[in-house]
């Protein structure tokens, strides 16, 4: 679905930058551009003037689905009482190594 922005600014895109090879892309901000190619060049010009990145992703904002603050508690709740997922829950007998 291509939601048309009410102006001639073009749709909103979210920008993600990978600062160096091996680490994840991180959200840097947003910008308006009429299409993907212009979004990428704009992202380079706006968000990487100091060599901040080796890779850029641009994603139309309306392609992103996110949780909301009001959802968060109940949505993430199930993980909060499963302490046995953490290694510290387990006692290792004295002298036993590499566990």
């Amino acid at each position: 679905m291509n939601v048309k922005d009410i102006s001639d600014q073009g749709p909103l895109w979210e920008v993600f930058i990978q600062s160096k090879s091996g680490i994840p892309h991180k959200h840097a901000g947003s910008l308006h551009a009429p299409d993907a190619e212009m979004a990428l060049t704009a992202a380079r010009d706006v968000y990487t003037r100091r060599g901040e990145g080796v890779s850029l992703w641009v994603v139309q904002s309306n392609s992103i689905t996110a949780t909301t603050e009001s959802d968060s508690e109940s949505f993430f709740d199930p993980a909060d009482d499963k302490v046995y997922r953490h290694p510290t829950f387990y006692t290792v007998p004295e002298g036993v190594k590499y566990l």
Binding site: D5, I6, G10, Y47, E69, D71
Partner: protein, 332 residues
């Protein structure tokens, strides 16, 4: 209201029936706890309004701020200085764009923000309504205006709204070369020929007062301060930020051999602060209300830029739509 991203509704009934009063209490507790507020969280309507006002005016200031400095790009005294000034002005454009993006997370769209500036409905920093009369003005702006902005923005980076606070951190990093660039210009001129020294001093004479004013009215007179401070949109008062700027800048002037144009300026040994004479708040309000030397020119320059760029936007949109149609007809 422009939505950034889609959300799926998992809201449990208990949260959905919280009263506004209960939400406000919870919100204030988050603020007092030093927690950041993010775009999709509940916030008081006035929090949203104050932020939209502050962030958009900050964005407008960056864009308009490109004009007085852009004025000297063609007349920079050396290639190095031209390249540096170009980079600075590019940064200001980028800063404006970060800030417009931050404002948009609050549910206002880009075109509305642009229209508010172009119709004169929105304000921008008073300082950019002054002309740049000599190359030394470029030095004065980088040293004093960016210097004051850095002190203010470092404070704002500790503010409660996530996107604004993060934009401030990014901007402060980039702003520091602006500050050094300006001081370098002033220092070299002040230690150059007699004519250069006079040019630097003249620029300081004209930019000092407005730079002091740019940090905003004294707290008692500031109409927005109590709400913005209650909600940690601002973390410190205008007066505190102003004093910090003065204490840092006066020694820089002394080191450059320049004289701050304030006969009442004196160092207080007890408080360890530099005290200034009376600030011309009449001038500040006159300029904010539209009667500064360049208000009309700034606005008409922005209107002209918008108009002259229209064919570019139209072409880009037309091309994008054409490509889209092609893609859709292939997919169909």
């Amino acid at each position: 209201m422009l939505k950034v991203g889609n959300t799926v509704n998992f809201t449990p009934l208990i949260y959905a029936i919280m009263t506004t009063e209960e939400r406000e209490i919870e919100f204030q507790a988050k603020i007092d706890n030093g927690q950041k507020i993010e775009p999709k969280e509940w916030m008081p309507e006035n929090y949203r309004k104050q932020l939209i006002r502050m962030i958009s005016q900050h964005a407008h200031s960056e864009i308009v701020g490109m004009l007085p400095e852009g004025n000297w790009i063609s007349r920079a005294p050396s290639l190095r200085r031209k390249a540096v000034l170009l980079a600075k002005v590019q940064d200001e454009a980028g800063h404006g764009l970060y800030l417009y993006s931050a404002a948009e997370t609050l549910g206002i769209d880009r075109q509305t923000l642009t229209d508010q500036l172009l119709t004169g409905k929105a304000k921008y920093s008073s300082i950019f309504n002054y002309p740049t009369l000599s190359w030394a003005d470029i030095g004065a702006i980088g040293w004093l205006v960016d210097g004051a902005a850095i002190v203010n923005q470092t404070m704002l980076a500790r503010g409660s709204y996530g996107p604004y606070s993060r934009a401030m951190v990014r901007i402060c990093k980039e702003e520091s070369f602006h500050n050094r660039q300006g001081y370098e210009i002033m220092y070299e001129l002040a230690n150059g020929t007699e004519a250069q020294k006079q040019m630097a001093q003249d620029a300081l004479n004209r930019w000092w007062g407005p730079s002091i004013q740019m940090l905003g009215p004294s707290d008692a007179a500031s109409i927005n301060s109590s709400e913005t401070m209650k909600w940690n949109i601002k973390v410190e008062s205008n007066d505190v930020v102003r004093q910090r700027f003065i204490d840092r800048t006066v020694p820089q002037a002394i080191a450059a051999g320049l004289t701050i144009p304030d006969p009442d300026l004196k160092y207080n040994d007890e408080t360890e602060h530099w005290e200034i004479g009376p600030v011309d708040w009449d001038e500040f309000y006159r300029v904010i209300k539209g009667h500064g030397p360049c208000n009309k020119k700034r606005l008409s320059d922005r209107q002209r830029a918008e108009k002259e760029g229209e064919w570019v936007r139209e072409a880009a949109i037309a091309y994008a739509e054409k490509q889209n149609k092609k893609m859709n007809s292939i997919a169909a």
